[in-house]
Amino acid sequence: MEYSLLIIATPFLLFLVLGLLGMKMKPSIAGIIGTLGMSLCAIVAYTVAYQYFFQFGKVGEEWTKIIPLNFEWLRFTDKLHIDLGILLDPISVMMLVVITTVSLMVHIYSLGYMKGEKGFERYYAFLSLFSFSMLGLVVATNIFQMYIFWELVGVSSYSLIGFYYTKPSAVAASKKAFIVTRFADLGFLVGILILSFYTKTFDFELLTADHAALATTSFAGGTFLGLSIATWAMALIFMGGAGKSAMFPLHIWLPDAMEGPTPVSALIHAATMVVAGVYLVARLFPVYFFAAPDVLEMIAFVGAFTALFAAVIAITQTDIKRVLAFSTISQIAYMMVALGVSGYGDHDGLGYMASMFHLFTHAFFKALLFLGAGSVIHAVHSNEMDHMGGLHKYMKVTSITFFIACLAIAGIPPFSGFFSKDEILAAAFHHQPVIFWTLWVVAGLTAFYMFRLYFCIFWNGKREYSEHHKPHESPAPMTIPLIILAVFSVFTGFIPFSDFISSNQIPFHTHIDWTGVGALSIGVAVIGILIAFLLYFKDSRQPAKMAKALGVFYKATLHKFYMDEIWMWVTQTVIFRCICAPIKWFDRHIIDGSMDGLAWITQKSSSSIKGLQSGQVQFYAWVFIFGSIVIAALVLFL
């Protein structure tokens, strides 16, 4: 399956072509080249997926790892070297499908959405760069290759968030996104260093091959601050994942990242890049499970807290993209929790499967939600919910597809979100009641805020639109991707995921417990939707009253629990004022001052003794005679 290289090579070539020659092309041609290239990429990815899942992938009862390509790129030591290669296994192939599908949809959609924007070709070049990096990330054969592409997706995300570079808020958001994730990547890097120091390899296969060794010998490093070295290494690697996947408290960059063009938010900040952290943990899952189970526990709790935290914030936000951003944080946290509560092997590994399943379904319906939001923004030229309402009349396709996505994310059967979410809840139920009930509440909140959003945008006819600026349905390049993604959102839930993906690569069977967890999750979702319906379907004063009643709590959620302010304080006051500014002063006055001082002393001492070199012969003669006498006296008397 060497041709799978095409999946990576195509977007890279597209990036080079569009990046170097794009300026000379007509914008529309650049867009079409990008889209065609991406279609090719998607076709190859689907072929690979078909061949893997139905022809070559299964050997006996087990899914194998196929490495069609691997070469040494940079050698550090005999055992440690960065390889670049392609690893095909169930999760990477699944990711290939997700990324190419969503990316292609976004490419098509952008032909309509970004039409007439300045820098159209630059936009497509960066989209290609992103697709290249993201695809390279998921097929990585070793952890360092993953790190390389991890950084590259970070930069593509940076460039795309800051696409409108003349807008100060976009520049600030892109900077924030990069620096926060960079900070997390520091943890990732140090984690890699520690891990590779003890295991002497970067390679995923070697890392995860020997479970017994993972548990015992490979981490003979002792303990540090009461935790084993393995725990430290894996926790630091998780920190990298938490940064990219916007886990609390490193989530602050994601809502701001909505400054980028909306299709970019759909692709990068909803469907693909932000799940890289989940993918990372899934990729190293055996290492986590056997070498550092306490980190998994931590991941579960961090995830559960983030899910709740983000869902609460999402309720009060009024910018539709921010609601979706917090919803994304909350849903990714769901996937993290699923990994955290998962066991290893067969049905114990339900959480692992559920996490990947939710990643898969979420990618489609969340991309759909973002693209739908983009379509709305395109129509009313605003992100604010207050400027919308009653749009169902004007944009039927957007409204219906958005509705489908809302049902999917809320977890109403038979839409895809229900199935994956139900598995996660089931996994949590067997593991930890606190986490289960937290997730259950979050499921209700999700249904509530999603339908609040839906009703406020498309119903709730409080807003009058002037005759000249009547909103209208978006053009075909934008609605077609919406329809395709809606189809995905409806049907992907029926895929028997556990046949393909499991923690130990051996298929197992799952069933839905319609009387237990299933009923609970549908129940809470319906309640959420009903409340939203009562409050927001028609214009009413009820929400405002409730907000007033909640007082401080409402204000706190509206301000995202002041996390931005706290981080601002850390960077501005602690780093700038308490570290950098004193260092600058110290450098100027103490370090440099001592050098200047040395020069000053030299100058002063030389000017005070320069009088001796007066050039007067009488004076020299006098000193000469006097000196001779002194020396003679010394010689005589000592």
Partner: protein, 492 residues
């Protein structure tokens, strides 16, 4: 004639040709031709070197040639190169070449280029010599022209900066002189030849004093904390090409010297006393990065960034293992190219906006798209984006350093890793401030983008950076193979 000597002869010929030149056009022709010849020479040398190695020549230094110069002390003009010097020569040739294009419109061009050629000669001479005395002589030849180049063609407080830079580096040279003479006598054999001294054993009582002296002497040029303050002032006042050459090549003399003289000849002392300097370099790495965060002058930001990056070079050298040292040399290459690119672009921007204060600029991306995109690339290289040279160098250093067996070194490696975050902060702050956002100063609207000669300079550097970044094993293998015998010696 030995191919290596050509590296010294060509600049001398250029100087002679410059004397005969009349008019700007002739001067430019001479410079471009000479610099191109040097570039081609470097390429030929690399190929020849690889061929000889492939043919199985395992001598430590190739193309060795010797000429007695002062018989009573047995001082020779001895030249020879291994993979590391070949790489350094290639780096110098690239930077000298691009520097010519970046100083296209200089006043008093003839005099300027005279000193420029002399400086280049010193640099090349330094990298090819394996005789301590000759090496030291070329080192001084490279330093002195700097005083005049900054003092006469500089901007701002140029006399002060030139004086400060020269005096501090001369102070370093004094230590170096002591070190070299000490090595000569302590080795107990009348030879200045590095390879011969390396075969002899310098007693530890001497090494204990000579190692710090030489390391410090070269370290000053490598911007070792706390002797780095010449660098911000010096760079800020220097004209564009001089900054490029200085940060790109001259600072590498420091790292190269520390490696070639201090550590290679006195491994025991390096093992015993390395920790003192490791702390200093560790401070350099983090301290330089933090200092850069609050600077407002583009050149100061870069100078402090150089302190941080060059600190990493010395840091890795002190780790004394093959991977980290390979990383150190890679970092020299990478930093040389990247910082030259930065200074070329800063010169370009300064030449148009007449300010280097980041608070007075904004939205340049709209005004000079070419220069701005290149600046972003330079920034990304500096903050270690994979695919550009900074990443491979830094990762080799970090992975190599972390292989050290004791906790002290590994702890310091983690501390040094922190610099990657701080680097991102100051790079993105600068880029965000000057290139993005609304146009700050209405007078900047309509300023021309890069001229063709500036483009030549910038594109060459970017190509080199991307080449190393995408195909690191080329450079890394050459370096790593040349290090093997040295490492074998270090670990006795």
């Amino acid at each position: 004639m030995n191919i290596l000597s050509l590296f010294v002869v060509v600049p001398v010929l250029m100087i002679i040709a410059l004397f005969l030149c009349k008019g700007m056009k002739a001067i430019r022709t001479v410079m471009v031709t000479g610099a191109s010849v040097l570039l081609v020479l470097a390429a030929i040398l690399t190929i020849l070197f690889l061929q000889q190695r492939a043919a199985g020549d395992t001598a430590e230094m190739l193309f060795v040639d010797s000429l007695v110069w002062y018989a009573p002390l047995n001082i020779c003009y001895t030249v020879g190169v291994d993979g590391i010097s070949v790489m350094m020569l290639a780096l110098s040739a690239i930077i000298v070449f691009t520097g010519v294009f970046s100083s296209w419109n200089m006043n008093m061009a003839k005099e300027y280029f005279l000193w420029y050629c002399l400086l280049s000669m010193g640099v090349f001479g330094f990298f090819i010599s394996i005789d301590l005395f000759t090496m030291f002589m070329f080192y001084e030849v490279a330093l002195i022209p700097m005083y005049l180049l900054i003092g006469l063609w500089g901007t701002g407080r140029k006399e002060y900066s030139a004086m400060k830079l020269t005096l501090m580096l001369m102070g370093g040279s004094a230590f170096l002189m002591i070190g070299i003479i000490g090595i000569y006598f302590a080795a107990g054999h009348t030879t200045m030849n590095l390879l011969e001294i390396a075969q002899l054993h310098i007693p530890y009582e001497f090494q204990r004093w000579l190692f710090p002296a030489t390391f410090l002497g070269f370290g000053v040029l490598g911007a070792l904390f706390p002797f780095h303050t010449w660098s911000p002032d010096g760079h800020a006042s220097a004209p564009t090409a001089v900054s490029m050459l200085h940060a790109g090549v001259l600072m590498k003399l420091g790292g190269y010297g520390c490696f070639r003289v201090a550590i290679y000849l006195m491994p025991e002392a390096a093992q015993q006393l390395g920790w003192i300097f490791l702390i200093l370099t560790g401070i350099s790495v983090v301290y330089g990065a933090f200092s850069a965060v609050v600077q407002t002058d583009l050149k100061y930001i870069n100078a402090y960034s150089s302190v941080s990056h060059c600190g990493l070079v010395l840091f890795a050298i002190l780790m004394m293992n093959q991977t980290a040292m390979t990383g150190a040399i890679m970092q020299m290459l990478s930093h040389g190219l990247m910082t030259a690119l930065f200074f070329a672009l800063i010169g370009l921007i300064y030449g148009r906006t007449h300010t280097r204060d980041i608070r007075e600029m904004g939205g340049l991306m709209k005004i000079m798209p070419f220069a701005s995109v290149c600046y972003v690339i330079a920034g990304l290289a500096s903050l270690g984006l994979p695919g550009l040279s900074g990443f491979v160098a830094e990762m080799t250093i970090f992975v190599g350093s972390f292989q050290h067996t004791d906790w002290f070194h590994r702890g310091f490696t983690i501390a040094a890793c922190c610099s990657i975050v701080i680097t991102a902060v100051y790079i993105l702050r600068t880029v965000g401030k000057i290139l993005y956002g609304p146009v700050q100063d209405q007078h900047h609207i309509g300023l021309p983008d890069a001229a063709w000669y500036e483009k030549v300079s910038v594109v060459c550097l970017i190509v080199a950076i991307a080449f190393i970044g995408m195909y690191p094993s080329g450079a890394s293998d050459i370096i790593s193979n040349s290090l093997s015998p040295i490492i074998a010696k270090l670990n006795f």
